[in-house]
């Protein structure tokens, strides 16, 4: 479990706090979607969760160990897929051979399966790949490490259209009960089907922290004509199919698919 305890953080040379008295708890066996406007601190939060940044007050614990210590035991159980990442220009097979000893739960089967899903050969040279292909190789390696905590910052950026569904397949296939996945993204449509918990960040704090089931229990997402608009509508946006609306779910209403983009706009604009 990752426990963020009352942290405050600001970057050196900046006056404004990114987080002020921020607390959060991330449970196992969940895929968290981390959403927020630009500059609300999504990447900063991932850096704080992985120990790459140190809060000015408060602490972040991962399995009761303060993450700023960056102990090898902690790091071998935590993988951060950064938006821009570093992979040396060597063969993927050599990269795997060199780095897999650092991850005790590394699985060659998972790697082969992910590479196959991403349509990448196992003996590819990383220096000869496009940015998107390198990202797929990087995600495949991250999945194969089988770390208990997998943090991803904009993982679908740079991936082509088929790769985005391949990505969803890879995550869904290799999600295990003791694993916690946090995906920070602006591309909500790429990931909304697989998320089971939403964290929405606002300046300094959490704007929304709810499971997908809770969201589905509370709201309905549908399209309405202008004539169908009534007081039950909490938020609406005009689209080509009519008005996309969020309504308070009433007893007897059918469960609907969550429209994360609409929910995000509702939450951020209603505030």
């Amino acid at each position: 479990m990752i426990n963020v305890q009352n942290i405050s953080f600001k970057y050196k040379g900046q006056k404004a706090l990114v987080f002020d008295g921020f607390s959060l708890q991330l449970e196992e066996n969940r895929i968290y979607g981390l959403l927020g406007k630009n500059g609300t601190g999504k990447s900063t939060l991932l850096y704080l969760l992985s120990g790459l940044l140190r809060p000015i007050s408060g602490l972040v614990y991962c399995d009761n160990v303060a993450v700023y210590k960056r102990t090898p035991e902690l790091l071998s159980n935590l993988f951060l897929v950064t938006e821009e990442f570093e992979m040396p220009a060597i063969c993927l097979s050599e990269y795997v051979k060199l780095y897999k000893p650092f991850y005790p739960n590394f699985s060659d089967e998972v790697l082969q399966s992910c590479l196959a899903d991403f349509e990448l050969p196992a003996d590819v040279h990383l220096g000869e790949l496009s940015m998107g292909q390198r990202k797929k190789a990087y995600i495949a390696f991250a999945m194969a490490t089988n770390t208990r905590y997998l943090l991803m910052d904009e993982p679908t950026n740079g991936l082509d259209i088929p790769s985005k569904s391949q990505f969803r397949k890879v995550i869904a296939q290799h999600m295990t009960e003791d694993r916690t996945v946090v995906i920070s993204t602006h591309q909500v449509h790429d990931v909304e089907q697989m998320l089971d918990h939403i964290l929405m960040l606002d300046r300094h704090s959490v704007l929304m922290n709810a499971s997908m089931q809770d969201i589905q229990d509370q709201y309905t997402f549908e399209y309405r004509t202008p004539q169908q608009m009534d007081d039950s509508v909490l938020y609406a946006e005009p689209t080509l199919q009519g008005n996309a609306v969020i309504c308070r779910r009433q007893e007897g209403d059918a469960e609907t698919q969550v429209n994360l983009e609409l929910l995000f706009n509702y939450k951020t604009q209603a505030k």
């Binding site: 790459l52 940044l53 090898p72 035991e73 570093e86």
Partner: protein, 289 residues
Amino acid sequence: MNTFNYNRFSQALKCHFLVERKTWIRLFGIYTLVMFMANLFFTRVADSGYSHWAEKYPSELFHHYSRIVEQTAVFGIIFFCFAMLFTASGMFSQMKDTRKRSAYLLWPVSNVEKYVVSVLISVVMMLFLTISAYILADTLRVLVDWLTGRIIVWGFTMPVMGRDGDHSWGVYQDWHGVWMVLVWAFYVHSLYIVGGTLFRRQQFLFTSGTIVVVGILLIMLLNQIDWNSIHFDFITGTWDEKTQTYTTIYHPSFYIINSAMMLLVACHYWASYKLFTRMQVINNKWLNV
């Protein structure tokens, strides 16, 4: 918490070495080329009198050419010192941008192991690489000499054996001298190790600049002291008329100061390590704090 695991450390060292191998090869090539060109400059351009000596004083030719080749050895030592300081200040060059920094900091290796790997690569590996490049450059110079009919005089043995293989470079004649030179060399090197960890960019320039500024300030401060009223002996010497020999006397202050310097070297390494453990993925613009 396991801070040092031999298997993990050796894997990390192997990993770091192999991933960066292209950089080592490139650096080795550059160093060899620079020293080879310098060798050619000293033996072919700066000294144009080889044929004159070969023609007029053939018996003196070896001695004359040895003196010329000695200049290449001196250049090699100066180059070696700069190379070592430069790589010491670039000890964490594998963390120069956010991507590399996050990859290195999240590597599941303890801070001690990461630090020792960086020190070994930037000190021992670069020592080996620079000396190898120096020997290769000298070998290439000897090859050119042989192809053009010149006598064979090796330069790479001179820093250890002296010009005529007689340890004629005075520093080797007394272990005190060797100790003092080594202590000062390690002291200056450790300053660049601290600078390389403290400064986020242009580490060599900023460290050199800081040393110069602090040095000037220290000299100005020391000039305020009336040294005539202080009796301070470091190294003195006596000349014996009977035996016609000069004896160097090393006073206790010599041992105290050298020992204190060694302690300072250890402190610098400790400070550098502590700075490293506190490094974050996004730091101050100029300093790694």
